[in-house]
Amino acid sequence: MSAAVKILDGNTFVVSDDNGDIEASLTDPTGLFSFDTRFLSRWILTIDGQRLNPLSVDDLQYFETRFFLVPGTGTVYIDAKLSVIRQRAVGGGFHEELTILNHDDKPVDLTVRVEAACDFADLFEVKDALKKQGAYYTSVDDGRLVLGYRRETYVRETWISATEACTVDEGGLTFVVHVEPQQKWATDLHVAIGRDASGTTSGQPKYERPAKKQARTTMELSLEKWLGDAPILDCDSDSLKRTYQRSLVDLAALRFSPVMLPGHYLPAAGLPWFMTMFGRDSVFTSLQALPFAPELARTTLVALGLWQGSRHDDFRDEDPGRILHEMRFGEMTAFEERPHSPYYGSVDATPLYVVLLDEYERWTGDAKLVRSLERQARAALAWIDDYADLQGNGYIAYQRRNEKTGLENQCWKDSWDSISYRDGRLPGFPRATCELQGYAYDAKVRGARLARLVWQDPAYADRLEKEAADLKRRFNRDFWVEDGQYFAIALEPDGSKVDALASNNGHLLWSGIVDKSKAKAVARHLMSPAMYSGWGVRTLAEGQGRYNPIGYHVGTIWPYDNSFIAWGLRRYGFKEEAARIAAGILDAAEFFEGRLPEAFGGYERELTKYPVQYPTSCSPQAWSTGAPLLFLRTMLGLEPIGEHLIVDPALPQGIGRLELLDIPGRWGRLDAFGRSRVDVGSRPRSRSQLGVLKPAKKSKGKAAE
C-alpha cells in the first residue's frame, strides 16, 4: 500500500492509501474502524475499469481530507482530460463527496464504480491475524448496500448509499455518468455504521451541518471551541508555536466520548491500535493537559471511577478498588476470548488515579467532584495496601493471574525485556518496579491532603501521611544502589535489587519519594551521557546489558517519559536540567512537524543529527501529544498554590520570551510570562547546544485584563 492517510474522530477512524482506496488484508490496519471493529475493508474507486492516480492529498482537518486524482497509471496524467476529487470526512462512519471534472471540450460518458466489502475484523484479529468464527452476509435494501456479519447474537452492519442514481449490487455501486464539456458531476457517498454494540444506529452522521445555512459542520465547530478554550501561546520560537498548535489539534482528535458519558471527553491512547480508554494513558495525558484542558481530567476521573474494580476476577485481573487498564469493544472481547471488558492488568493506574484527583483539585478547586469520588479514591488507596503488596514486603508489585491473555508487565514499560538487571538478566515475579513505589507514595500524600481539606477526616489523613513517610524511608533504603548512586529499577521477591539504571529514576523525582540527599546523584545520572542523548533521556542507560537505542523500552527516548522527568527535576529544584530536557524534546518535535511520536531512537544527538523514529510507534499518541503541554508548564514553573498560580520560569537558551495567556483554573483565567536574559538576537536556529539561563524572578500569575 502507498502512504497511509488517516482521519479520525474519537475511536472511529479511516486509514486508506493516498488515492483514497482501501484494500485491507487481515493483518493490515487499513479500513474504516469504529469501536475496535473494522466496518469497511475494501473501498476502491474506478472509472471505466481503471484505478486512479493520486496528484495530491490535502489534510484539511484531522477528521477530513481531500484526494486529487486522475485516471490512468504511471505518467499519463499530463494528458488527463478528467480529474477526480474525493473529499472525505469521518464521524459515525464516513462521508465522501466524489466529484468528476471534465476538462475536455467534448462530453464524456463514464462508468464509475465503487467496490465495497468488509471483513468485520476485531482489532485484536488484525494484530494477531486470527480467523473469524461467524458468517458474512450482504444485501441490497432500498438502494442501499448492506454488508453484515453475524455470530450468534453478535451482529455488525455497514450501510452504503449514494445521493445520485446508481446500480447497487452486492459488490458495490455503479454510476453511469455523462459529463458535458468543462462541467462536473458529483455524488455524495455515505458509509454508515449501521449496526454496532448499541443495536441499529440512527445513521446520523456527525459531519452534517446542524442547519443548512450554517457554514461549518458540528465537528468543525467542536474543534473551533476546543482551540478557543485553550490558553494562547505567544513566544519568539515559531517552532514551539507550531508544536503547541499541533498538540492541541491532535489532542482534540484523540478525544473520546465514553458511551456512559455522552458529550464528555477523555483522551484515548493513540492511533491506530489504542483508540480507547486506557487507565494509565488517560491519567498521564490528563495530568499533562490540566493547565490547558481540565475537562479531560474530570471525565477521566468520573469514567475510571465508574469502572473501578469491585470483585475478584482472575480472567480480567480485577480486584476491588483497582483502576482499569484497558477497555475494548470488539468481537473477541464480546465473546470473552479477550479480557478487555474491561481488563484491569495495570498496577500504576490505581495510585495515579488518586494523584490525578488531587492535582485536578489543586488546579480547578472543584471540591464537589473530589467529594463525589471520595469512595473511589479511598478504595484505590486501600487497593495499594490490600491487593498490590504481592511480595509481602509493603511494596506495590504485579503478577498477572490471567496467564493466557493477561499482561505480563503491568507497568508503563510493558515489553517483555523492559525490566532487567544491569547485566541483562530478567527478574522473576511478582515485580516491584521502583516508579510504582513513587506513585504509591504520592497517592498517599495527596490522599492525605484531600482527606484533610475536602473529606474532613484528619485521622485518615494522619494515617496516610504516616504510611507515606514509612514507605519513603524504607524505599530509600531498599531500592538504593549504593555502588551506582541511583535507584534500582525493581525489587525481586527475595529483596534483590534489580540494578539496571533506567529513566524510572526521573519518575521517582516527580513523585517526591526521593530523599533530598539522594536527588543530586539521581539528577546527575539523568543528565549524564549514558542517559541523556542530547534529545532526551533514554529509557535505559547506555552500557546496561539490554541497552539498544531502538529497543522499545530499553534505550529509546519517550517524549512522555521525558515530560515527567523534567517535572520531577523541577520539583527538586533542578531547573536548568528540566529546561534542557524540554529543549531537547521540543527540538526533536521540529523534525516531526510538531507531532512527537510515541518514541524515537536513543542514538547520540551528535551522531544522527536528527531523531530516528521508532519503527512501529503509534502516532499521534496521546501522552506524546501531551508532552509539549507539560513542558510548557515546567518551563514556566506553573504551580497552583492555594488560590494562586505561581509562575517561576526557567527557559532554555533558544526561547527568549514565552507567554501563556488565559490559563484556566480556580483563579478564573491568568497569564504567565517568562523571559530569559540571553541575547536572543544571536541564538542559533535550533536550540541544539543548550545552556540554560538562570531562572527569572519568581512571580505570581498576573490576572488577565
Binding site: 450468534e152 471511577g305 482472575d314 470473552e336 490490600d386 509493603g394
Partner: protein, 124 residues
C-alpha cells in the same frame, strides 16, 4: 428458564448496603425475557444504595435480555459488558446508571480469593 431467581436481585440490594455503588441516582428496568413471559424488575439506585421492586415509574435506563443471560451475569458466570457487546443484552437510556450498577454484579465463582492481610496489618 421460567423466571429470574429473586435471590440474585436481593443479593444486589445486600451488596449495595455493604459497598455502595458510585452515587448516580436513577432507575434501571431489567426487562427479562423468559420462556413464556416478560419479567420486569425496577432497580432503583439512590445515593449508592439499590432497591429492587416489581413495580416502578418511568425508568431512566432499560436493560433487555434473556432470562439465561440475566441469570449468568447476576451470578458472576458472565460479564455484563461482554454480553452487551455480544448483543445478548441491549441497553437504552442513561448508560451511566448501568456502568455504576455493574459494580454490584458478582465476580466469577472460580476466582481466587486473594486478599492477604495488608503489610500494615502484618506489621501491627
Amino acid at each position: 428458564m421460567a423466571e429470574l431467581d429473586v435471590g440474585l436481585l436481593e443479593a444486589l440490594e445486600e451488596r449495595s448496603r455493604e459497598h455502595p455503588v458510585p452515587a448516580v441516582d436513577g432507575v434501571v428496568l431489567f426487562d427479562v425475557r423468559c420462556a413464556d413471559n416478560v419479567d420486569k424488575w425496577y432497580v432503583t439506585m439512590e445515593k449508592g444504595i439499590v432497591t429492587v421492586a416489581r413495580k416502578g415509574g418511568e425508568p431512566d435506563c432499560v436493560l433487555t435480555g434473556g432470562c439465561a443471560t440475566f441469570d449468568a451475569v447476576l451470578s458472576g458466570r458472565a460479564n455484563v459488558m461482554a454480553a452487551l457487546l455480544r448483543g445478548a443484552f441491549s441497553a437504552q437510556g442513561r448508560i451511566i446508571l448501568l456502568s455504576a450498577l455493574q459494580q454490584l454484579f458478582p465476580g466469577s465463582p472460580d476466582a481466587a480469593d486473594l486478599p492477604a492481610a495488608s503489610y500494615a496489618e502484618r506489621q501491627s
